[in-house]
Symmetry: C2
């Protein structure tokens, strides 16, 4: 028994590592090279994996790309929950929440996702695969932000303030796509943190 | 009169009309079919213009697409200035301003531009062509909103409130890309109109 699992395990490990490598390479490729350049073949090449092995894991480009979005999204949510736990109580908390949400939507994953969303806008099949995950992802981030602000779900203004924060963050992510917008963004986040402080209780 | 002008400048007119038709078809094609499908050939075909005539006006795809963004952007700015003139004074003015800005970033032109921006993110040459116009466009919209709110350019919070409104509007535009987000958007705009009212003077 132990003999058998010892033989089996490294193969499972290799398979899992190959899969992760392909998914992470896909996000890098989307963010840096865009939709057109990101194919199973090009990702396999960049990851140093044979095309056959890549196609064993992801038979189609859509499998690879939606798989990558989900994998990285889940990983980002775990990071966000960890970061949420480290947000200090006190008067700076609303700013820290704005900061966390905006950071969430201005990273490589957001840039990769932008390429997928625009492709999905004119591809019904891809849209049907991407939308359920994107909706769930937004709900999770919304829940994290509401929790951090100690906001009451019955309070419609608090809900809208948090929704607006997510929309603002996506807009700031978009504004960072073609040039480094970090200096201006920092001012907007500082401003927004003060608005949130006036709207929502500062600590749970 | 129309008879005479038709005789006098028919070639110039035809050329101008062909050009406009190509530019408008490009925006429609980008918004509905995306970047990959929008080529000089496909746009000429959809516009009912010969490929040669299209290439006379726009030798490359980049010429056509950046030309279309600029042409439609200028047209949209004229519309926005007209709409700005019609915004009533009074307590609803901040809401009307939020509404106007958000409408500005949730139309077909915005969806078309999104496809160009994501393509430009991984194409340095296209980015260099698109950025100056996009920056000028944002400055113009910012100026329209500042004027509408009677905001003082020396007031850094008013400036940031208006910048945040533009970012929020872009985020709402993005949220509308994959599914109809109009009901949720309406709530966020109503909420933000009230925040603007508290932040900026209601009338010039």
């Amino acid at each position: 028994m132990p003999e058998r699992s010892r033989v089996r395990a490294p193969q499972q490990d290799r398979s899992r590592i190959t899969r992760q490598l392909l998914l992470e390479t896909t996000i890098d490729s989307l963010a840096a090279q865009g939709w057109v350049a990101t194919t199973v073949g090009s990702v396999a090449r960049q990851a140093g994996v044979s095309r056959g092995a890549a196609q064993h894991h992801f038979p189609t480009r859509e499998d690879l790309i939606t798989g990558a979005l989900e994998y990285m999204g889940e990983k980002r949510l775990i990071q966000a929950r960890e970061a949420a736990g480290a947000v200090p109580d006190g008067t700076d908390r609303p700013y820290a929440v704005a900061r966390l949400i905006v950071d969430f939507y201005t990273d490589e994953l957001f840039k990769a996702a932008l390429h997928v969303w625009t492709a999905a806008a004119s591809d019904e099949e891809l849209r049907a695969r991407v939308l359920p995950f994107e909706n769930r992802f937004s709900r999770e981030v919304f829940g994290i932000a509401m929790g951090l602000l100690g906001a009451d779900r019955e309070d419609s203004d608090a809900r809208r303030a948090v929704q607006a924060t997510l929309d603002l963050a996506r807009g700031l992510g978009l504004a960072d796509l073609l040039s480094d917008d970090s200096a201006r963004r920092e001012q907007v986040v500082e401003f927004w943190g003060r608005q949130l402080a006036a709207l929502a209780p500062a600590a749970p």
